[in-house]
């Protein structure tokens, strides 16, 4: 029982870390540029498609992933320069609408270019198996890799944001944009860089979830809403908040899905229990968010000065 619990916790951690990669870019863009970017989920999807195409092309998942990351960043920068740059000064409603339009565009674009059927990403054989991470606890290697990469990215972002000059500018931008500009920093360039970084993180999340689920149209739409929930719970602009909220949501969702069916199964038939459990664990997330917003309207770790 304890082992099962631990395994489900790892699954939750893995989903939470994927969510964190997506939410980190979103919260940076939101915190610094005050931009609600619904199209972030589309960048996630495009990242997964890029990886699928490049993996087919090169025949190697790692080469494919290595090519997909800059491609994702480049796509994000193009989107920022072409469409989003003019929206920074607009109100949130305009941003929501325009980026909603971008979602429609990207979903259809993927359908036209990559076909409606979805694509699978081939993993190298040594990632297909399982590793024994603890005596008596085998765990799928690729999921374990996701956890390692996710934790590595979290560490990298922590160092980047806390210890480097760029990170200092990012933090300063999240607290007071105008002042950063007044001090002679090229805000436009900073914005574009941060957007590119966020897009690369979204692409990374997409290409790592690609081999688990298939790469398909609209794969970014639902996880985008979860990522929005994460950044709102964590506090807009806060990487630390995004990390804690993402892992919490991943674990809650997975635990709910894993254990609720059994608990409900004692008085419902299995398929009904499954339907209900899935809905209940999804609802738990939104209940958590509503509770956080009612009790702490600015999230758990709001960026100072906001």
């Amino acid at each position: 029982m304890l082992l099962l619990l631990f395994e489900q916790f790892l699954n939750g951690l893995q989903i939470g870390l994927l969510l964190f990669l997506l939410a980190a870019g979103l919260t940076l863009v939101f915190g610094i540029m005050d931009l609600v970017n619904l199209a972030h989920g589309s960048l996630y999807m495009m990242g997964a498609y890029f990886a699928a195409v490049f993996t087919q092309w090169t025949g190697n998942f790692f080469l494919g992933a290595l090519l997909a990351l800059p491609a994702g960043a480049l796509l994000g920068i193009i989107v920022e320069v072409v469409a989003l740059r003019t929206l920074y000064t607009r109100d949130h409603l305009d941003q929501v609408l325009a980026t909603f339009g971008l979602i429609l565009f990207f979903n259809e674009f993927a359908r036209v270019v990559f076909g409606a059927g979805g694509m699978a990403i081939e993993l190298p054989s040594w990632l297909e198996g399982q590793v024994e991470i603890m005596p008596g606890l085998p765990y799928p290697s690729f999921r374990f890799l996701i956890i390692v990469v996710g934790l590595g990215c979290a560490g990298f972002l922590y160092l980047l944001v806390q210890k480097t000059r760029l990170g200092m500018l990012i933090r300063a931008g999240a607290s007071n944009r105008e002042m950063v500009g007044a001090l002679g920093i090229d805000i436009k360039l900073l914005f574009t860089l941060v957007f590119g970084l966020g897009s690369a993180l979204a692409a990374l999340a997409g290409l790592m979830s690609g081999p688990i689920t298939t790469v398909q149209i609209g794969m970014g739409d639902n996880i985008l809403i979860l990522a929005l929930v994460v950044i709102v719970i964590g506090g807009i602009g806060s990487i630390r908040g995004a990390f804690i909220a993402a892992v919490a949501i991943g674990v809650i969702d997975t635990m709910g899905r894993a254990f609720l069916p059994n608990m409900l199964g004692s008085f419902l038939n299995p398929s009904d229990a499954g339907t209900l459990a899935q809905a209940l664990s999804s609802m738990l997330i939104y209940i958590l968010m509503a509770a956080v917003l009612v009790l702490r309207p600015a999230g758990l770790f709001p960026a100072p000065g906001r």
Binding site: L102, F105, L228, T275, A279, Y286, A290
Partner: protein, 373 residues
């Protein structure tokens, strides 16, 4: 600013549009085109929902990103009652209104404590909650949805199975919703609501309990939208969680903004434009959203204030170009599919509408000039 101040152009075009909408069943009969009636029933029902959203979004400044939830609540109330053998409309419909009102009250109580982006997100989250409630309702089909076997029964008074009757009922509800919105917005209540939109702190300082006013408007909007859900369930004979997916809420916001926020008839224009555009583009290409998405981005970036905004600023030329292009598309599109009669009629109607707009704009311009001299 009173909502309906010196805007004869908008009002006349809207009245003409409502008149044209009233003729749809007759036209569908004459042209033997049953799909036309289906399309316009859908348009009228969505217009009701958009009008209700406009009350809180346009006039109250509350960007609710979960408005489709009330469509679901209205539809599910009818569907669940019908599933248990209760078909009397006198029970179904008031109960649906009550349920959507109660849902709006709960959502409003929680969400109206927050502002700005947090309000957008919390309405989205609570609507997702309702969406997953529908997904988990395994007794009523879960995510597959539920077919309604028998439509609401008005005891022989109104026969919902007769398609033109259903259409006229929807049309009447739309007109009633517009009238309700007009009366609400121009009442003292509506003034407080609009005042709170431009400066809620000042309204609170004057002594208005802003929260309560907003909550009331929120509940009214939820109930009207619930009615749209009831009509939608009656029209499609089907309910499913998909009708309250978050992208449906997004569509509703698009309709309101496309038409013009905070204008009485804006949502009507927006809904007609949105759904007709969807219809035309999707009949041309399966990938219609690849065109529609960028159009949306362009509208947000360049055409602030939507269709009604263009009318207000007297940009009749831009609007006419849009209208003419739009109807030209529709005419050419129809010409592919049917004989010459329908496209000709549509084109004639289009040009009549455009010339009416131009004539009114010219008259207003010359009146203004005369006034200045």
């Amino acid at each position: 600013m009173p909502a309906l101040m010196h805007k004869p152009v908008t009002t006349m075009i809207a009245v003409a549009l409502l008149g044209l909408l009233a003729l749809v069943p007759i036209a569908a009969e004459a042209f033997d085109d049953p799909f036309m009636l289906t399309l316009f029933t859908r348009i009228v029902i969505m217009a009701i929902a958009a009008v209700s959203l406009n009350l809180i979004l346009g006039y109250g400044g509350m960007v609710s990103f979960g408005h489709a939830a009330y469509i679901g609540i209205g539809g599910y109330t009818v569907g669940i009652l019908a599933h248990h053998g209760v078909h009397a409309a006198w029970i179904q419909w008031p109960l649906a209104l009550l349920m959507s009102g109660l849902t709006a009250l709960l959502i409003g109580l929680l969400s109206l404590r927050t502002k700005g982006i947090f309000f957008i997100m919390i309405t989205l989250a609570l609507a997702q909650l309702v969406y997953y409630l529908g997904n988990g309702a395994y007794a009523y089909g879960g995510d597959d949805g539920l077919t309604i076997l028998k439509r609401s029964d008005f005891g022989g008074l109104i026969d919902l199975n007769h398609r033109p009757t259903l259409y006229y009922l929807c049309w009447a509800v739309l007109v009633a919703a517009l009238y309700l919105c007009y009366r609400t917005v121009n009442s003292r209540f509506g003034m407080v609501l609009q005042g709170a939109k431009s400066n809620d702190r000042r309204m609170a300082t004057i002594g208005f309990p802003v929260f309560r006013y907003r909550l009331t408007a929120f509940v009214i909007a939820g109930m009207v939208c619930g009615l749209a859900g009831v009509l939608s369930a009656a029209f499609t004979d089907f309910i499913s969680p998909a009708m309250m997916h978050w992208s449906r809420s997004g569509d509703l916001i698009v309709m309101v903004v496309l038409g013009g926020m905070g204008s009485l008839f804006g949502p009507l224009f927006g809904t007609v434009a949105f759904l007709l555009l969807e219809e035309i583009l999707s009949s041309w290409t399966e990938y219609w959203k690849i065109v529609f998405g960028p159009i949306l981005v362009l509208v947000v970036i360049f055409a602030r204030g939507g269709i009604d905004g263009a009318l207000m600023r007297g940009q009749a030329n831009i609007l006419m170009a849009g209208c003419a292009g739009f109807f030209l598309l529709y005419g050419v599109h129809s010409a592919y599919e049917s004989d010459w009669l329908i496209p000709t009629a549509i084109l004639a109607a289009a040009f009549a509408l455009v010339w009416l707009a131009k004539w009114l704009a010219d008259r207003r311009a010359s009146a203004k000039e005369a006034g200045h001299v």
